[in-house]
């Protein structure tokens, strides 16, 4: 893509180039920094006043959003008053700088910091150590706080962590597959029904519900009462009506690890809408002639579906499946609210939370986070490849 108003650093002298970079970094850092300080000051002010809560809410919203918009405007104004060539050199960084700085602070640098943290024991770094100061490293690496890959070895040897990894595999295998298959079925059925819009909306609706809300909904379905009492949970009421005995399903240790399936159902219920929407769009993109041709050749509806439609939308299926896999890999809220990880239901993300924030074992928690990151790296590489192929950037 050719650029409008292209400027090239190579046309500048060395001094000008250095100046340009100082200006750019300055702009990129200064906008978020001033925004931050201004909002922070406003915040302290709000915290110390005793205005009604709804007033504070409105002021906070206007302050936060308006403040950032105003900053872009002010700094752009300053840069536009500079000589033309300097405007051209610096203006892009008014636009893109804040985003890059925030991404660096919130995601890129934390990867590096968390990796370092994962090499140390539960209390984190020894005094005087900084991940950004290489001269402090040699001393830290010799301190007893440095455990090397010890935390990683512990992950694979500790029983609780093994259980979490096993459960997460169950989540990935059953959760993603069922969501994809159900989404495909609903999309296919809805496509040839008169109630397409209504039925798709209703299956899609759980997407708007939080995991915590969904946990309450399903906890109510799994609610168990002693045998003989009236069951108020739907599942046990059905089971009892058919002559079975009531069980605490997701909290039923006797069937562990299969009680995890009752938690997985919740996420299937939430995610099927997502896969259905994407499949529905993909199915509509299949040229009618291909399907008609197959029908003329005497293919049954089932054959048309399995041999023509599914292969045709395979790309979408892989994308949706990958997305749900990544999603179930990080599943946290449902397990945390439903069982708190008891009854053999811990997953990697709940162990991460427990180790990092409850047990205060930051080294171990960080190692778990790094494991999570490593598992998504193939997807990251795939995304970057796709990007390089499709964009003439």
């Amino acid at each position: 893509m050719a650029q409008i108003n292209a400027v090239d650093d190579r046309e500048m002298g060395v001094a000008a180039r250095i100046f340009a970079w100082i200006g750019r970094v300055f702009l990129a850092v200064i906008i978020p920094l001033i925004a931050f300080l201004a909002i922070y000051a406003g915040f302290i002010f709000l915290r110390d006043t005793h205005a009604p809560r709804w007033v504070m809410t409105i002021v906070a919203i206007i302050w936060g959003v308006g403040g950032i918009a105003a900053l872009f405007w002010v700094f752009n104004g300053i840069v536009e008053r500079l000589p033309d060539e300097w405007t051209q050199r610096l203006q892009p960084f008014v636009f893109v700088g804040p985003a890059l700085v925030i991404l660096l602070w919130y995601l890129t640098v934390p990867v590096y910091r968390t990796f370092w943290l994962s090499l140390f024991h539960r209390d984190g770094f020894p005094v005087g150590f900084s991940v950004f100061a290489p001269w402090t490293w040699p001393q830290a690496l010799q301190s007893p706080a440095f455990v090397g890959l010890g935390n990683y070895l512990a992950i694979f040897s500790e029983r609780l962590l093994q259980e979490a990894i096993r459960n997460n595999l169950m989540w990935i295998v059953f959760g993603s597959t069922t969501s994809v298959v159900m989404g495909l079925i609903v999309a296919w059925l809805a496509d040839r029904s008169k109630f397409e819009r209504v039925s798709k909306s209703l299956v899609f609706l759980p997407m708007a519900i939080s995991f915590v809300g969904a946990s309450v909904i399903w906890n109510f379905i799994y609610e168990v009462r002693p045998e003989g009492a009236a069951q108020i949970g739907l599942l046990n009421a059905i089971v009892v009506a058919f002559g079975g005995s009531p069980h605490p399903w997701d909290k039923w240790v006797a069937i562990a690890p299969w009680n995890n399936l009752f938690l997985i159902i919740i996420v299937v219920w939430l995610q099927t809408g997502f896969s259905m929407v994407l499949f529905s769009a993909a199915l509509k993109g299949i040229p009618e002639e291909i399907i008609e041709a197959a029908r003329v050749d005497g293919a049954t509806e089932m054959q048309v579906f399995l041999r023509i439609m599914v292969p045709y939308i395979m790309g979408t299926i892989v994308t949706v499946w990958t997305t749900i896999v990544i999603f179930t890999l990080k599943i946290f809220d449902v397990v945390w609210v439903m069982t708190g990880g008891q009854f053999g239901t811990h997953v990697i993300a709940t162990q991460f939370y427990r180790q990092s924030f409850t047990a205060r074992n930051s080294g171990f928690g960080s190692a778990i986070a790094i494991i999570l990151l490593i598992t998504v790296i193939p997807v990251m590489i795939y995304n970057l490849r796709q990007f390089r192929e499709t964009e003439a950037f």
């Binding site: 409008i4 804040p98 990151l373």
Partner: protein, 365 residues
């Protein structure tokens, strides 16, 4: 669709209706239950709002009037049994009557129950009053006595959620729109490598950042503030926002942009007057996505908002309710619905944009 027989259409529709029912019943059950009285929720399933046959006491008699001897086998209304059996309740052979001895041998009475068609439509707003408001209020028990219960004050959490969610939605959109414009229409050094970073960060799990960011927040006093949560959601949503908006903004018609520049418009003018208005569909798609994500988020709030009850958002309050009142279904059902109402309204009103956003790849890492 051609080529489908009538039977196939019927089967397809029935299968679809069954699936849709399975998907809707959990939410319907919650909604119905939230309007039932505390007593009803605890003693019968929510489906008893549908007509069903239930035992109803039709008369109470004194055993002495019937001349019954408690020490032998007795027969009342066709049901017979010893005293012990009658204490448990005995059904008549036809199954249409049940006889129960209530009380002890000497002073007891006999209740005769018949199965009748009935619906349980005793609806109330008490659950919502108790969950939403902070003040204590009186509830009436089924036996007529009253009890004072403390309110759960979810209205405050609702306001907190709004105060967290709206800036956490608007700020990343604003910052990402500027960045997306720069990536699409401006030339600058490190442009390519910066964008590769954006793409790479799309799938990075946010767990990786929680501990370092929390320690930064502790140092600068941001822990437990809305500002900290806004920035965190901005940071975690920014990669996706930039990527999506870039995909949209970079496809805007080149001629329109060029003619604006020829007319002497600056980048800032083109961005605010031309690009932002043209990008409304993409902005709306991401806004809905981010709004739902932040409103429904639990983990980020849990880590960065902490334990101060005054600042908790709805998901935290609801999770607390599950922990403290795990069996208080009258509170949990109403509470859950309070947390769900706003996302559901937005979802139904703006479903079109939401779907468009998903199709454009709103898939968060």
């Amino acid at each position: 669709m051609g080529g489908q027989t009538r039977t196939a259409i019927v089967i397809i529709n029935i299968a679809l209706i069954v699936l849709v029912l399975i998907w809707s019943i959990p939410t319907i059950g919650l909604l119905v239950s939230s309007f039932r009285t505390r007593f009803d929720i605890q003693t019968s399933g929510w489906w008893s709002i549908f007509p069903h046959r239930a035992w109803e006491t039709v008369k109470v008699v004194d055993p002495k009037e019937l001349g019954l001897d408690p020490d032998s086998v007795m027969e009342v209304e066709g049901a017979s049994g010893s005293f012990e059996e009658l204490r448990q309740g005995v059904e008549s052979p036809g199954g249409d009557a049940r006889v129960t001895w209530v009380g002890n041998k000497r002073l007891g009475r006999i209740e005769v129950q018949k199965k009748v068609w009935t619906v349980n439509w005793d609806f109330t707003l008490d659950n919502y009053r108790q969950v939403v408001f902070g003040s204590s209020f009186e509830v009436t028990r089924p036996d007529g006595t009253t009890e004072t219960v403390p309110g759960q004050d979810m209205s405050q959490a609702f306001l907190n959620s709004l105060a967290v969610t709206i800036p956490s939605t608007v700020i990343p959109i604003l910052i990402a729109a500027f960045a997306a414009y720069a990536f699409a229409w401006m030339n600058f050094p490190a442009r390519r490598v910066s964008f590769i970073m954006v793409v790479g960060l799309l799938v990075v799990p946010l767990q990786i950042a929680l501990v370092p960011i929390l320690s930064d927040y502790n140092k600068i006093g941001l822990n437990g503030t809305f500002l900290g949560v806004w920035l965190a959601h901005t940071g975690f949503g920014l990669a996706l926002a930039t990527y999506l908006l870039f995909n949209y903004i970079s496809t805007l018609p080149r001629e329109t942009m060029e003619s604006a520049f020829i007319d002497g418009a600056s980048h800032f003018t083109v961005f605010t007057r031309l690009v932002l208005p043209l990008s409304v569909p993409a902005l709306a798609s991401f806004a809905i996505f981010q709004f739902l994500w932040v409103w429904n988020d639990y983990l980020v709030a849990l880590v960065f908002l902490g334990v101060d009850p005054n600042f908790k958002v709805v998901t935290q309050r609801l999770a607390d309710l599950t922990g403290t009142f795990g069996n208080a279904w009258h509170l949990l059902t109403a509470g859950a619905f309070v947390t769900m109402i706003l996302p559901m309204v937005i979802f139904f009103a703006l479903q079109r944009f939401f779907v468009r956003g998903l199709l454009a790849g709103s898939v968060k890492g």
